[in-house]
C-alpha cells in the first residue's frame, strides 16, 4: 500500500513519510473501521438482546449481536475504503472527484479504484483466492470420505466444511466470469471508456471480499449445519455460525444485483457508434443474458435471507409450521433464486466458449443468432423450472408434470449452444492452443452435465436420485466442468492483454491435461455412487462403496495438485520470467485486442466506429457443393 489519496485530492507525492501515507481511505483504514464497526454492532446487540432475554440466557447465543456486528463491520469497511466520500461530499455541497486512483502504481489494486481494468484484476485475484479456499475445504471433505466411518473430522465440522465449500463456491463463482472478465473487457469490446457506474463496480468487488471473510469467520461461531441451501427449520435451530452464512449470501446477493445492473446499463447505453445489437460479440450477449438473471433473481435471495434472519432474531414464524409459516416457503423462495443462479453460473461459460472458438478455428461464429436465442431462451426459461428441486418434497401432484416439461424444454436452447460449437468446428482450421483445449473440454463436460440433468428432470428417476451423489456429479459437471473450465479458458486467453505477459505454455498444457483427466476421474464415479444409493452431505457410507470413494478422493487430490501447477505457472511467468506478450498474440479480430498492451487508462484515443461483428474470419467463397451461399448471420 504505497499510494495514498483522499477523494478530493490528487495522489500525494511519494516523498512523504510512511505513516502519513498510510492515513487515508485505504485498505488499512477499512480493516480498522471494519473491526471497530463489528465490535460496535456486537455491543449494541448485547444492549438490546442481552442476558435479560430468555433465549440468550438459556442458549449463550446472541444472533442479534452477531448480525449487527457483521452489518456495522461491513459498513465500516466500506467507509474506510472511501465509498462514502462521493455521496458525503455531494451532500455537503463540495466538489468531489468522480474517478478514484485512475493512475498510479500497484497500490491502487488494494483499494477503491474506479478504473474497470483494475477492478477486473482485483476480481480475478480476489475470486481466485476464495476459489482456493473453497477448494481446500473440498480436499478436507474428500480426505474424510476416504473411510466409511468418521475418522478425521467431527460430524459438526464436516457439515460446516461441506456448507462452506458449497456456499463459498456458489457465492464467489457467480461473479467468476462477470467479475474479472466482463468488467475488464466489456467496455473494450463495445468501444467504451468505462463502465456505466464505476464506483458501483468497485463496490461489488469489495462487498464480495467482505462477504468471503465473513463466511470463513463462521468457524469461530460454531459453523453451520445446513449446507449451501440453508433449509429451514434446521436453519433456525442452528447456532450463531448460521448468521455468517446469512450475511455472506445477502452481501453476495447485493453484489450480484449491482453487478448485473451495471452490466445491463453499460451494454444498453454505452455501445460505440455502429455497434448494433446484431454486431455485438457473443460474450457481451452472454453477459447481458446473465445480468438480466442477476438483477431479477438476487433480490429474491436477499429477501429470503432477511426473513430467515428475522426468524432467528425476533421470533417471527415465516418458516415454522407451528407459527403458521411453512418450511416449503423457504424451499420455494430459495430455489426461485437458486435455479436462475445456476444459469448465472452457466451462461457466461457459454459466452466465453463461443467467443474463443472463432479465434482459434479461423472461422466466423456459426449460428450467431441461434446462439443468442439459446442464451436468452435459457435466461427466460430458468425462472420456470425451480420446482424440480422439490419433486419429492410433497408438492401438489398437478405441478410436477409441468415442471418436468419446463425443465426438459430448457435443454433445447442449451442444445443450440452445442450446435453452434459444432458448426464453428466444422471444417475449421483449429489451433490447439491452451484456451482451445479448454473449449473442447468444456464441450465434453457440459455434455455429460446436461444429459445427467435430463435424467434428473424425469420425476420417476429423480425419485431414486434426488439428494444423492448423482446430483452432486451432475452439478459439478455443469458448474465445475462448465464454468471453471471456461474460467480457465478465459484466463489463458486474456492474460496477455490483462498483464501484457505470456503464461508458460508447457506448464499450461500440463495443468490442462492433469485437470481434465483428474476432473473426470473424480466426478464420473460419483454418478455410480449416486446410482448405488449414497446420499449427499454424509461422512459415513456403506463399506462396500469404499473402493469407489477412495478412487474419487485420490483423483480429487490430483485435481487439487493440478491447481498448484496453475498457481506455479502464474507466479513463475508473471513474477519471475515476465516474458512480454504482443498486443494481439491470437490474431483476434475482436475490439479488445486492437488496443495496445498495456491498455491505456482511457482505453481508446478515439472512440472506435464499428462496421461489423468481430467474426470476420474465413474465406468468403462457399466450399460445400450444393449448399447455399454463405450468408452473414444466418
Amino acid at each position: 500500500m504505497s499510494t495514498m489519496s483522499t477523494a478530493a485530492a490528487a495522489p500525494a507525492p511519494s516523498g512523504r513519510p510512511l505513516w502519513r501515507r498510510l492515513i487515508g481511505f485505504n485498505l488499512l483504514t477499512a480493516v480498522i473501521l471494519g473491526v471497530g464497526g463489528y465490535y460496535f454492532g456486537w455491543w449494541i446487540g448485547h444492549l438490546i438482546n442481552g442476558p435479560s432475554f430468555e433465549y440468550e440466557s438459556a442458549t449463550d447465543e446472541n444472533d442479534v449481536a452477531l448480525l449487527l456486528g457483521y452489518f456495522f463491520g461491513v459498513v465500516g469497511f466500506l467507509i474506510g475504503l472511501g465509498f462514502a466520500n462521493y455521496p458525503v461530499s455531494r451532500l455537503l455541497g463540495r466538489p468531489a472527484s468522480l474517478r478514484e486512483k485512475e493512475s498510479g502504481g500497484i497500490g491502487r489494486y488494494f483499494g477503491l479504484c474506479t478504473d474497470h481494468k483494475v477492478v477486473g484484476i482485483q476480481y480475478l485475484v480476489g475470486i481466485g483466492v476464495f476459489f482456493f479456499v473453497g477448494g481446500l475445504n473440498a480436499m478436507l471433505i474428500r480426505a474424510e470420505l476416504l473411510k466409511p466411518v468418521p475418522t478425521l473430522v467431527g460430524p459438526n465440522q464436516y457439515l460446516s466444511l461441506v456448507g462452506m465449500h458449497g456456499t463459498m463456491m456458489m457465492g464467489m463463482m457467480t461473479s467468476g466470469i462477470l467479475g474479472p472478465f466482463a468488467n475488464y473487457f466489456v467496455p473494450l469490446m463495445i468501444g467504451a471508456r468505462r463502465m456505466a457506474f464505476p464506483r458501483i463496480e468497485a463496490l461489488t468487488f469489495w462487498l464480495l471480499m467482505a462477504a468471503g471473510f465473513i463466511l470463513v469467520s463462521t468457524i469461530f461461531f460454531g459453523g453451520f449445519p445446513t449446507g449451501w441451501t440453508g433449509y429451514e427449520p434446521l436453519n433456525d435451530e442452528a447456532v450463531m455460525g448460521m448468521d455468517s452464512y446469512i450475511v455472506f449470501f445477502a452481501l453476495v446477493g447485493v453484489s450480484m444485483a449491482l453487478l448485473g445492473l451495471n452490466m445491463m446499463a453499460t451494454i444498453i447505453t454505452m455501445r460505440a457508434p455502429g455497434l448494433t445489437w446484431s454486431r455485438l460479440p457473443i460474450f457481451v450477449w452472454s453477459v447481458f443474458a446473465t445480468a438480466v438473471l442477476m438483477v431479477l433473481a438476487a433480490p429474491m435471495l436477499i429477501a429470503t435471507l432477511l426473513m430467515a434472519a428475522l426468524d432467528r432474531t425476533i421470533n417471527t414464524s415465516f418458516f415454522l409450521t407451528a407459527g403458521g409459516g411453512s418450511s416449503y416457503l423457504f424451499e420455494n423462495l430459495f430455489w426461485f433464486f437458486g435455479h436462475p443462479e445456476v444459469y448465472i453460473l452457466a451462461l457466461p461459460g457459454f459466452g466465453i466458449i463461443l467467443e474463443i472458438l472463432p479465434v482459434f478455428t479461423r472461422k466466423p461464429l456459426w449460428g450467431y443468432r441461434l446462439a443468442i436465442s439459446g442464451m436468452l431462451g435459457v435466461s427466460l426459461l430458468s425462472f420456470f423450472v425451480w420446482q424440480h428441486h422439490l419433486f419429492v418434497s410433497g408438492i401438489n401432484g398437478d405441478l410436477r408434470p409441468f415442471y418436468m416439461l419446463s425443465t426438459e424444454i430448457i435443454s433445447v436452447p442449451t442444445g443450440f449452444i452445442f450446435l453452434c460449437v459444432m458448426g464453428t468446428l466444422w471444417k475449421a482450421r483449429t489451433t490447439f492452443s491452451v484456451p482451445m483445449l479448454f473449449v473442447y473440454a468444456w464441450t465434453f463436460n457440459f455434455l455429460i452435465g446436461g444429459l445427467s440433468g435430463v435424467v434428473l428432470s424425469d420425476v420417476p428417476t429423480d425419485t431414486g436420485l434426488h439428494g444423492s451423489f448423482f446430483v452432486m456429479a451432475h452439478f459439478h459437471y455443469t458448474i465445475m466442468g462448465g464454468l471453471i473450465f471456461s474460467f480457465f479458458a478465459a484466463i489463458y486467453y486474456w492474460v496477455p492483454k490483462m498483464f501484457g505477459l505470456r503464461l508458460n505454455e508447457v506448464l499450461a498444457k500440463c495443468h490442462f491435461w492433469l485437470m481434465f483427466i483428474a476432473f473426470n476421474s473424480t466426478f464420473l464415479p460419483l454418478f455410480v455412487l449416486g446410482l448405488k444409493g449414497m446420499p449427499r452431505r454424509v461422512s459415513t457410507y456403506e463399506p462396500a462403496l469404499q473402493g469407489l470413494n477412495d478412487w474419487v478422493s485420490i483423483s480429487a487430490f490430483v485435481l487439487g495438485f493440478s491447481m498448484l501447477i496453475f498457481i506455479f505457472n502464474v507466479v513463475y511467468s508473471l513474477i519471475f520470467v515476465r516474458e512480454p506478450a504482443e498486443a494481439n498474440p491470437w490474431h483476434s479480430k475482436s475490439m479488445e485486442w486492437q488496443v495496445p498492451t498495456p491498455v491505456p487508462v482511457n482505453n481508446f484515443e478515439q472512440i472506435p466506429v464499428f462496421d461489423s461483428d468481430p467474426y470476420d474470419y474465413g474465406t468468403p467463397a462457399p466450399i460445400t457443393g450444393g449448399g447455399r451461399p454463405a450468408t452473414a448471420g444466418a
Binding site: 478455428t361 426438459e408 424425469d458
Partner: protein, 280 residues
Amino acid sequence: MSEPIDEPNHTARFATLWVIVTLIALPLVIWVIGPLLGPGTDSDQASAVGTDFTVLAVIATPVATLVVMFLLYSAVFFRQPKGQMLEGPAVRGHARVQATWIIVTSIMVLGVAVFGTVRLESADGAGSGSGPSPLTVPKGKKLPVQVIAQQWLFTYRYPTYGGVETTELVLPANEEVEFHVTSLDVIHSFWAFKLGVKADANPGVDNIAFTKPTKLENFTVRCAELCGIWHGYMSGAGRVVTPEAFNTWIHQEQTKLAPATKVLPKYSTTYLPEPLRRGE
C-alpha cells in the same frame, strides 16, 4: 486460400462414423449398462424406475455419441497445419441444419416429457412423495405405514395395528404399502432405495408414497435431506417378509411395546409436539 479439390466428404464420413458408434453403444446401454442403473427389482416401483433409466439412457446415447464423436473427428481432421495461418470457410450458419436441430431436439424433449408424465402418473411411478393428495393412487387394499422422521431417527407407526410405533420397518411382500411420511422437527427425507421410494418429511405435512415390495429382501432406509449433525447416520435396516411372518412380527411388537403405545398420542397424519418456538 481455396480448398484442395480432393477434400473428403466430411458429412458422409462423419455421419457413417456416428451411426456405427451409436449402433455399437446402444446394445451396450440397453443390456449391459441399463440394468445396472436402477435401484434393482425389489419392488414394482424400483423395477419401473429401472426401466425409466434405461429408456432415458437410450435416448441420451445418440446425443452423447454425436457430440463426443464430433469432438474427436474435428480434433483429428480439422486442424491447422503446423506453422500456418489458414482460414476456414466463412459459413455463418445453415438454415436447414438449424431448423432440423431445433425440430428434432424439441420432439425428443417433448417425447421424454410425455414419457415421464405417463410413467409418473402410473402406479409404478408412485414411489415418489406426492403430498397429502396424490394424483395417482394404486387400486386395491393398501397397508398404511406412517414414517415419522425426527432428529435423528426414523420410527414407523402402523395405524391399522393399534397405532403401534416401532423403530424397525418390516413390510409384508406383495402387498401395496401406503407410506405417510411426516416430520416432527426439520426437513428429512425417507429414502428406501431398493424399494424405489423417496418422500421428503416436512413438519406438519403428510407426504404420501406407495410401494409394492416383491422380493423377500432386506433394504436400507436412509435420510436423503440434510437434517443436522447425524444426517449421515440416520439410517436403518428394513425387511420384506412373508405376510405370515409380518403378522407374527407385528403382534410381537404390539405386546413388547404396549407400555409405549399407551402413552403415544392418537394416530394423526401430522404431529407437532412441544416445544415449538425458540425461547421456550
